[in-house]
């Protein structure tokens, strides 16, 4: 049975480790390509300045990459240590992308990483450049496979439930691989990594310009970073739109939480900015916001590509609206889910006793209610709604910051082109201070995706409470604090090393 304390600590540990890991991954994704572009310019032009620029950013890349690996190894194994029920119930589908990630991406990264850093004098220029690109491609391939797995958690398709093994089994690999939710997530996520990499390069280059050090190299770096950033910021808008569209189609509870939408309606608007009414409860008559600025019809348009589309709200999703929009109440789904669980239990019992007729009947009952199986484990219809405030504010902070980054890259390119970047002290300071904002935006994006998925481990199939390992809460608390201490220590080390390397300048030391 579900142990709420254990579930919450398991959840907290996974969130802690994932949030730490996600501090380092976006920079790896973006900076790897930026470094590859810089080295390509060096190989094309033969200009030694570009080689020094490449090596400087490569050093920072390595510092970040190392802690990314350190925080990443735990992610794969935590599915076993803390989510062992999950590992069995969906491992037949979820395990495959993780294994392919290791085979296709990790070996490529780790093999060519050695050439990238130690092969300058050992392999030809072109082989070295190829290795740098392969590290970048490997990093991004890794993101592809993990997001195929994550996309499946958000929108599970291509599988069927096997009552004999009591688990979901893969029925179509290509459905899992080409899950539209996975692709929109992958493109949006790597896009955010590219923007993070660009912010990092632009911000640190701005620091050099403000200090009037390594000016030529900083300006060259800034042009590459800002151009890459501008292009990928535009890319991020389109992929974000598609990701939100997929959420609208497949995860209505997440969409409602992202927008703080309690009462659904046609021609729904997007809240550009607003303050949620924290006293508001599901089903009451209070206002949703203390104040807000809304863009009319934008949610219908962006969510469903139709300005007049109906967008369901939290109240409709919890209490249903069969008459107007054919939305089934959560309680009804929970009742059917309980029937499915009872039928599965009866099926297993009949099989054990060799009662074929009873087994067949139980199986028919189970198949009739199978779709609601996961709902049977929920206790309250309101449980289907993720934490609204956390999801809403995370989403809006992410979008707001993304808009700012686009403007930042635009102005930097503009002033670079007119040759007046050196005079723009405010802009350079803003670029520097945008580095932490990039990290905040990335973490907010993770919260929207994963907190917005709650209470499900696998959306509408498996609640988080059923997915945990049956270890003691004390064991998980112990490792939670150990992770908190170790990762914080490593983060402090990383920041100190990184800032020292930056202060040492772009010359080779």
């Amino acid at each position: 049975m579900e142990d709420i304390l254990l579930t919450d600590w398991s959840r907290a540990q996974f969130a802690l480790t994932a949030l730490y890991h996600w501090l380092f991954v976006p920079l790896t994704l973006g900076l790897s390509f930026i470094v590859a572009i810089m080295e390509t310019i060096y190989v094309k032009t033969g200009n030694k300045v570009w080689k020094e620029i490449t090596k400087f950013w490569m050093t920072l890349f390595a510092i970040n990459f190392a802690i990314g690996l350190a925080t990443g190894i735990i992610m794969e194994f935590e599915f076993g240590t803390n989510w062992s029920n999950y590992s069995w119930i969906v491992g037949d589908i979820f395990g495959a992308p993780l294994a392919i990630e290791g085979l296709m991406a990790f070996f490529m990264e780790s093999t060519f990483f050695a050439v990238m850093f130690f092969g300058w004098e050992k392999v030809s220029k072109k082989m070295h450049l190829l290795s740098t690109w392969l590290v970048a491609i490997g990093s991004n391939l890794s993101a592809l496979w993990i997001l195929v797995a994550n996309g499946w958690m958000q929108h599970p398709i291509g599988m069927e439930f096997n009552p004999d093994t009591a688990r979901f089994e893969m029925a179509n690999f290509f459905d899992v691989l080409f899950n539209p939710n996975a692709y929109s997530k992958f493109l949006h996520t790597v896009g955010s990594g590219y923007v993070m990499g660009s912010l990092f390069v632009v911000g640190i280059s701005a620091w050099f310009l403000l200090k009037n050090r390594d000016v030529v190299k900083a300006k060259k770096s800034m042009v590459v970073g800002a151009t890459f950033g501008l292009i990928t910021s535009i890319f991020l808008i389109f992929t974000g739109d598609e990701a939100a569209h997929q959420v609208a189609l497949t995860q209505p509870t997440k969409l409602a939480a992202m927008e703080g939408l309690y009462n659904g309606h046609d021609r729904a608007g997007i809240i550009a900015i607003g303050q949620l009414n924290h006293n508001k409860e599901i089903g009451d008559d209070q206002e949703e916001f203390f104040w807000s600025i809304e863009i009319p019809r934008a949610l219908s348009l962006l969510g469903f590509h139709d300005m007049n589309a109906y967008v369901p709200g939290i109240n409709q999703l919890v209490y249903g609206d069969m008459d107007h929009h054919n939305i089934e109440p959560a309680q009804s789904k929970m009742d059917k889910g309980k029937v499915a669980i009872a039928a599965l239990t009866a099926y297993k019992k009949a099989k054990k006793e060799g009662d074929t007729a009873a087994a067949e009947q139980a199986l028919v009952d189970f198949r009739a209610h199978e779709k609601y199986f996961g709902y049977g484990y929920l206790k309250d219809p309101k449980d289907i709604i993720p934490p609204v405030a956390l999801t809403f504010y995370s989403f809006h902070i992410m979008v707001g910051l993304g808009t700012w980054f686009l403007a930042l890259f635009f102005f930097i390119i503009y002033f670079s082109m007119v040759g007046k970047l050196d005079n723009q002290k405010m802009l350079l300071r803003a670029a520097l201070w945008s580095i932490p904002l990039g990290y905040i935006a990335g973490e907010m994006g993770w919260i929207v995706a994963e907190v917005g998925r709650q209470p499900w481990a696998i959306f509408e199939m498996l609640p988080v409470g059923m997915a945990t390992s049956q270890v003691s809460t004390t064991a998980v608390q112990t490792t939670f604090w150990l992770f908190a201490i170790v990762f914080t220590g490593l983060l402090i080390a990383e920041i100190r090393i990184m800032t020292t390397q930056i202060k040492n300048g772009m010359e080779e030391h």
Binding site: F77, G80, W83, S84, W88, G95, A99, F118, T500
Partner: protein, 374 residues
Amino acid sequence: MFETLSLLTLQQYWWFLVALLGALFVFLMFVQGGQTLLNTLAKTEKEKDVIIASLGRKWELGFTSLVMFGGALFAAFPLLYAVSFGGAYYVWMAILFCFIIQAVSYEYRKKPNNFFGQKNYERFLYINGSVGIILIGIALATFYTGGSFIKNDMNLSAWTNHTYGLEAVLNPFNVAFGLTIFFLARAQASMYFINNINEPIIVQRAREQLKMDAILFVGFFLMFAGMLLLMSGVAYSEKSFDVVNYKFLHNLFETPVILVSLLTGVLLVLYAFYITLFKASKKGIWFSGVGTVMTVVSLLSLLGYNQTAIYPSLSDIASSLTIENSSGSHYTLTAMSYVSLMVPFILGYIYLVWKSMDKEKITSEEVESDHHHY
């Protein structure tokens, strides 16, 4: 191609692949072994840098092999993955912490303002190479000795004691296996340094060190192998699980391929020691590498084939896991089998890259002139 294979054949194929990945990981543990020899083989800072540079170009492959081993286990045998990791919680977590601290230590060790200080990063490497490796040996050995778990009709598992794997460190067989791979890793590290480093004083010390580690390895290996062949195992049939005396000895003689492979593997490792110690050869690591892979694949084959439980339950024998009741579905194993066709290609590019990077042996001059040396 794979679609036509029976589920059992696919399960056997995937057990072989898991065993191969595990074996490659054990071979690559020479990196960890080398980390424990840092202060033994290096007496000056320069020598230390050479050793770290030599290991630093390989450590990620071992790290990746561990991740890959876990990933393959998850994909192919999800119930084994779920029961072992979710049950022997403390042991696996301790192992993971040992690898977390390894991942930053090479890069951060000599960087200015690195917070923990160079000495502590070297201690992290030592902990990874000693505690990490011994615990991995202990965790893998529990696949032979079993765990205190039960599983219900829905195949959901729970541990029946509150030590969550810590009890495994008190089992002499598990400890013997942990120490076996620990000393193997150290012995292989010495042979690797002899092959990879062009600094006579380090090579000479490595050769001296090899004597001690080879003897200890052989001693613990004999202890472990003797216990393995004399211990009972769990056999299964369609109807039941039964404890069978000398199960692994039976498996060895009933599957001559494994017997030949095991003996060949062991002989290759011993031959590697011989040519390194008595013929001053630098090629020991290659013979030892092939021998290690053959030996570990054979040992894991003894566990996975011939109707043997791959993870016996000490709490309820009927809950024991086998390659048949813990695997992925026919469809998933088939899809994954196609993916596995990439393995030779991956091994091929790793070999080529390794060859091009190692064509000139590492010297202190090279390390000093390298802008990005560890």
